[in-house]
């Protein structure tokens, strides 16, 4: 029996859950809680969306001119 509030526990394991670093038992416990708790579920979904946003924040592509300059750094044969 745990004395920790289940929503507090769920908040604590949010990052390792999304990183797939929880043990199977922990993951099942988190998912069981999420099934029944809209408060935590919303926050988990938000966090997934935030991760996507962070991933996309750095997709500004490289300038073709830079790619050309990198290629020119190759050693002479």
């Amino acid at each position: 029996m745990t004395a920790v509030d289940p929503c507090d526990w769920c908040e604590e394991v949010l990052q390792p859950y999304l990183d797939r670093e929880l043990t199977d038992a922990e993951r099942q416990e988190a998912e069981a809680h999420l099934d029944g708790c809209k408060y935590c579920r919303k926050r988990y979904k938000f966090e997934e969306g935030l991760r996507r946003l962070v991933r996309q924040a750095a997709v500004e592509p490289m300038e073709p001119a830079l790619k050309q300059r990198l290629s020119e750094l190759r050693l002479e044969l």
């Binding site: 507090d8 908040e11 604590e12 949010l14 990052q15 990183d19 670093e21 919303k42 926050r43 979904k45 938000f46 966090e47 969306g49 935030l50 991760r51 946003l53 962070v54 991933r55 996309q56 924040a57 750095a58 997709v59 500004e60 592509p61 490289m62 300038e63 830079l66 790619k67 300059r69 990198l70 290629s71 750094l73 190759r74 050693l75 044969l77």
Partner: protein, 193 residues
């Protein structure tokens, strides 16, 4: 003129071919390496300089790369070392920043500030500009780990190898880096509502 034996000629040709293969593989990864370079740099110009230094060094020291191992990680190790050498880390010790907010903090703050109650709508209050601005405010040690894991999609173990720190350090910096990112995001996004 010195004579080159057939064996020697074959060895030279083979070495040249290996080098060309290496260079082509390294250049094929440039877009992915650039994402990390851009994430750890303050500006596009800084990222471009870092890329050129990284590739110049990689091409010079190609023989220290072991074929068949993770070339992207090898390149990023050069990149992060160069970035440290640039001495751009002379800033306040980030570990001394007081910061202990739970992971629901950003959501709660946005929900309260906007009155939105659906997670999709709350998320829409954040733009990529907000994220870029917040990321640039995260201290470098933490930002490097967040960029490698969350943008570069490296495992904790790969990030540890690239940055030459223990895996536990990667985990604690990642934890803290994400918290700092959220705190910065809350500041930039809520203030602009």
């Amino acid at each position: 003129m010195s004579e080159t034996s057939p064996n020697e000629a074959r060895r030279l040709a083979e070495g040249a071919r290996e080098r060309v293969n290496f260079e082509e593989e390294a250049l094929a990864l440039a877009d992915q390496v650039y994402r990390v370079a851009r994430g750890v740099s303050r500006s596009k110009e800084e990222a471009e300089d870092l890329m050129q230094e990284t590739y110049a060094r990689a091409f010079r020291s190609w023989q220290s790369y072991t074929p068949g191992t993770n070339l992207r990680a090898w390149l990023l190790r050069i990149l992060t070392n160069l970035n440290i050498d640039r001495g751009r880390r002379a800033q306040r010790a980030p570990d001394q920043q007081p910061l202990e907010e739970g992971d629901y903090f950003l959501y709660n703050r946005l929900e309260a500030a906007t009155g939105e109650t659906e997670e999709e709508r709350v998320l829409e209050r954040l733009s990529q500009d907000h994220v870029a601005e917040a990321l640039s405010a995260v201290p470098h040690d933490f930002r490097d780990v967040v960029v490698l894991v969350d943008i570069g999609d490296f495992s904790y173990a790969d990030a540890a190898q690239i940055l030459d720190v223990p895996i536990g350090t990667v985990m604690s910096r990642l934890h803290r880096g994400r918290r700092i990112l959220k705190k910065e995001l809350a500041d930039v996004a809520v203030d602009s509502q």
